[in-house]
Amino acid sequence: MNEIANRFNIDGGPVDFEPGQTILQAALAAGVFIPHLCAHPEFTPHGSCKLCTVTVNGRSGSACTIAAMPGMDVQSDTPELNSRRRVLLQMLFVEGHHFCPGCEKSGNCTLQALAYEMEMLTPHFAHFFPDRPVDASHPDVLLDLNRCVMCELCVRASRDFDGKNVFSLAGRGMASKIVVNSPTGLLGDSDLAVTDRAATICPVGAILPKRVGYKVPIGERLYDPIPISAQVGRLSGATAESGCCGCGSGASGGGCGATASATVAQKEA
């Protein structure tokens, strides 16, 4: 009997994978971009943003959680799926407050980069205008949940990498929100340090290291010169060339350990 090749198709093109990889991991490693927000090479898949939704043998599913299998037929870059992704992005934009021109994450923000990528021109839906107070109590880190997209990367980073459990997702439905594990609920009273992975993992501008906001000028930031779809090497965690996770901290050593540890996690996975 012939051994079945570890290969499947995305949009008609072949992708080789290693057993244990998800569709997203295999695609990124092969240089094929699938839009994603809550997935990150360092952390266990989560499957909540649904931007990576693809069609696998005719059925919808999240590329970040479905294991790659030989012979799969995956559709991803189709007008229909991209228009669905655009609606999901619009949902995220109206759910919170995303004032990109005034946001210090601008240019380093995955949500913004994906919106450009998907050609999302307007938020389309009526804004929800949620009331989310800003927490500036921490000396080195700002928590502004107005921009939170509930990806739980901070939860996973703090729990699985820092071993501190600083963040949790609380509430349900539209009342869902990130809460801080401290007696007062304030970040300043938690044991978060600016050197923690959780302090720099946020893909949007909800958790920001203080006093480094504009170190890299707008126009020269992560997604300013090169669109996100052309950065698959960095997104897959396979290459460390960009030197920064896109957190906007500008930190090269302790502030942001994204890329250094990414390769390690990739090997362990």
Partner: protein, 606 residues
């Protein structure tokens, strides 16, 4: 912890000790804390967190997730009136108004003296005897204006719930048509002994012959599930297997499991024990929805009796090595916890958010161990198969849907209640039997199910045709199907767990659109938007709640379009607010109210 009194500290420490300070009991602990303190103050959260050794954020997350938990005082009498569509049809909203007027309260507000609050809650499972309410999680049925008056008096006089007239709390079975299951007597241990004489493999073999399919909605073949769990290896040093009975019954209009738990608990527990025997499990959980807390005492007593009869415990039924016991976990107001992986999360003491699948519970369920999750009714059916054999069981019903099915019938009918039929019964037959009054539509399988119009009343209840988890809501000719669909959209927006984008945000966008149409500001634009959102949500939500959340809209738009169209404006787009009304303040200030000081709404003016 300084703001906990001595007495409260004592109560809390007794609670955490009762649950052996195990973090998996967090939901149970918080339920009892709330009973003791009327709410869960931050100091109690901190206490529980340190006693159970979990981060305080987890305690906060759990408190905030479940609708029946409150971190601030909600009134010593917490009244929640059922907001299911059938309760509405029975006049619940007028009763809510009446009660709020009597108590001089607003919805969701706590009275100034801290005595009472009145709110709404999703379906309480009493559709055959509504309108219903919960007072501190105790069920009161058959509300009338008079009964509301009496309840207001009792609350004002702060009479303890135990001293309220006991007939308020009476819950009827209303069994209208009994077949295999509902007509069966329970002879303790008979089916279990039949199962143990077959042996685990033999029992699963009979189950396979019976072609029994799960009654919880999805209709998964029970034998396949059990066999997979039996074959799955346990994991780690505490390797074992679990049986979970899903008694969450949150689907609007479904109340069959409530009757089974109230009057057929012997069947339920014995079915679980047979499952435990067949898959090699040592523990079982009954996950009881918070709305059914009134059943808890009787069920606990039932379990104690079973232990005395050696139908639970060590060497069950005298079978050497078969140790099995059952405990009850009570939910706290979250429909999504009926989804089996969310249920398991809840059992583990976490918010009920559905897990990524695979892995499935049969290999990685409770605490990562192989776990079978079955519906209450499914487990009852197991007794018939153990006693009479799979082949005989398969003789009833249709090819793909063997045996009988219990329907919970409510709405515009003369005789609401439980109807058990062999699978394959026609909708028209059920309508005739229950005395449906000029039905124009039937919603089968709850808010997540299908809306059938008169043209479809010849269809059959069966997995091959109209599958159902047991809800059967009848809408008479005078009902407005748009309002039915709108009620369901609010239900889903309220019950979404919030984990995934399409469901968390999408269900709210959809219910906002329905409200906009209801307010008379809808146009064809909104109809297109509903359609587009339904497609996105269905195609990308993480679990069945999200994927089913727009079924009712899609069905009613297709089959009852006039109910929508009569509300639509003839313009292409209407803003959600009234431009002219927004200018009222300006008119008042300027003292002008002539024609030029008014705006015509919409596009016609151009």
């Amino acid at each position: 912890m300084s703001d906990l009194s001595e007495a409260n500290l004592g109560a809390l420490s007794a609670i955490v000790d009762k649950y052996r300070r195990q973090p998996t009991y967090l939901v149970q602990v918080l339920r009892e804390v709330q009973d003791a303190l009327d709410h869960i103050p931050p100091a109690a959260m901190a206490y529980v967190a340190s006693a159970l050794g979990v981060p305080i954020g987890q305690v906060e997350a759990v408190t905030a997730f479940y609708a029946f938990f409150h971190d601030r005082p909600m009134g010593r009498y917490r009244v929640l009136i059922s907001d299911n569509i059938t309760d509405r049809m029975l006049g619940s909203m007028a009763l809510v108004e009446h009660m709020l007027n009597r108590l001089k309260l607003k919805l969701g507000e706590v009275s100034a003296d801290g005595v009472v609050s009145v709110g709404l809650t999703s379906c309480t499972g009493m559709c055959d005897q509504g309108p219903a309410m919960l007072v501190n999680n105790r069920t009161i049925t058959r509300l009338t204006p008079r009964r509301i008056d009496e309840i207001c008096e009792l609350i004002r006089a702060q009479v303890p719930l135990d001293d309220w007239p006991s007939f308020y709390f009476k819950v009827d079975d209303n069994i209208r048509r009994a077949d295999m299951l509902l007509a069966a007597q329970w002879s303790p241990g008979e089916a279990l002994r039949a199962a143990t004489s077959l042996g685990p493999q033999g029992m699963i073999h009979e189950l396979r012959l019976s072609n029994l399919r799960g009654r919880g909605g999805a209709g998964f073949t029970t034998a396949v599930k059990w066999e997979a769990a039996r074959n799955a290896p346990g994991h780690g040093p505490n390797a074992t297997r679990y049986v979970v009975c899903n008694a969450d019954e949150g689907e609007p209009g479904t109340f069959k499991d409530r009757v089974l738990l109230q009057s057929y608990a012997g069947h339920v527990f014995e079915g679980m024990t047979i499952a435990g025997y067949a898959i090699g499990a040592s523990r079982g959980f009954l996950y009881l929805r918070g709305e059914y807390t009134y059943l808890l005492q009787a069920l606990e007593k039932h379990l104690a009796d079973l232990r005395k009869m050696n139908l639970l415990g060590r060497s069950v039924c005298g079978v050497e090595g078969f140790d099995f016991d059952i405990e009850i976990h009570v939910g706290a107001g979250a429909y999504v916890c009926g989804e089996e992986t969310a249920l398991i999360e809840s059992l583990e003491g976490k918010p009920g958010r559905p897990r990524i699948r695979p892995p499935f519970p049969v290999t990685h369920g409770y605490l990562g161990q192989p776990t079978v999750v079955n519906n209450v009714e499914t487990l009852c059916k197991v007794l018939e198969i153990a006693t009479h054999g799979g082949a005989r069981y398969a003789g009833l019903g249709t090819k793909q849907s063997t045996g009988t099915k219990i329907l919970s019938v409510s709405g515009d009918v003369d005789r609401p209640g439980l109807y058990e039929y062999p699978f394959g019964v026609r909708i028209a037959q059920v309508l005739e039997d229950c005395g449906a009054r000029h039905p124009q539509a039937v919603q089968v399988s709850g808010a997540a199910g299908m809306c059938l119009s008169e043209r479809e009343f010849g269809r059959r209840i069966a997995f091959e045709d109209v599958p159902t988890a047991g809800s059967f809501m009848v809408f008479g000719a005078q009902r407005d199907l748009f309002e039915v669909a709108r009620n369901f959209t609010h239900f889903f927006a309220h019950e979404s767990c919030g984990f995934c984008t399409p469901c968390r945000v999408g269900t709210t966008l959809v219910s906002n659109l329905m409200d906009k149409i209801a307010a008379g500001h809808g146009t064809q634009y909104e109809m297109n938007e509903l359609n587009r959102l339904a497609g996105v949500i269905k195609g990308s939500a993480h679990c069945g709640l999200g994927t089913a959340s727009c079924n009712a809209i899609v069905d009613t738009v297709q089959k009852f379009r006039p109910a929508y169209e009569k509300r639509l404006k003839a313009v292409d787009f209407e803003p959600a607010f009234d431009l002219d009304a927004a200018l009222a303040k300006a008119r008042e200030v300027t003292g002008r109210d002539d024609a030029d000081a008014h705006l015509a709404q919409g596009m016609e003016q151009h």
